[in-house]
Amino acid sequence: MIAKILAGDSQLFHQLIRPYERRVYVMALSFLHNEADAEDTAQETFLKAFRNLSSFRGEAKFGTWLVSITLNEARSRIRRRNTIKEESLDEPPDDQGHTSPYLLRDWREIPSEALERKEVRLLLQQAITGLPLIYREVFQLRDIDQLSVNEAAAALGISIAAVKVRLHRARMMLQKKLAPELKQVAPKRRWWAWS
């Protein structure tokens, strides 16, 4: 399809990017914490991909290439932002010690239907977007976009070992934050009173 687009059938680009719209938007949102900025960044990413399609060599998957463009766009937007609260793009060292999980004795499964509730979606969104950047981007690529470890490492320009370490910490941080919060919203057992 890419060859056809480059040969002049530009309209096919619409079709090419449809499966990636959500991924690019969520990636931008997790960086920028703002829907309007995320949408703008997503548009810029796709426009840039269209303009530079001829430089896509097919060594990586198209989706991974798009992720790299999104990361660059989002990072440069953060740099351009001249706000008081600015997120540091400096990477903290990876050897920050262990992340201990939240200790509990039993876990009652939260079914996916719970996501129909806005408060549950909000808890998850806040926990993910609240992760430090280097953990958030790895978590986003691996556990939300379902990229392989190798693909995530290639997109982020880090080693496979670093992806694994950061992913583990990200998951433990989320467990630590979300397990107690989700326990509170878990559906209560129904007790039938025998009369």
Binding site: F46, H98, S100, S112, I144
Partner: protein, 81 residues
């Protein structure tokens, strides 16, 4: 070899991704058989990963697609010879 809870926590991610070496996997599984705390940590982490991967957590804003493709159309028109 018997491993303690803290060691098991270090392997939770690898356990969920099924990437642990066989000897470590066996140690972790043995530990999980009798440790309700580590089992609950594993269950909660697995549950949280299923929930966070659900498309409903981050939804596209209304009209996102339409606006994106309209902008692309403008770009395509501008680049046309």
């Amino acid at each position: 070899m018997v491993i303690d809870c803290k060691h098991v926590w270090e392997h939770i991610s690898g356990y969920l991704d099924a990437t642990l070496p066989p000897d470590v996997l066996e140690q972790v599984q043995k530990h999980l058989e009798h440790c309700e705390i580590c089992s609950a940590i594993l269950d909660s982490t697995r549950n949280i990963l299923i929930l966070t991967a659900d498309e409903r957590v981050f939804e596209l804003p209304l009209g996102f697609s339409e606006r994106l493709h309209a902008r692309l159309d403008e770009e395509i028109r501008d680049l046309a010879p």
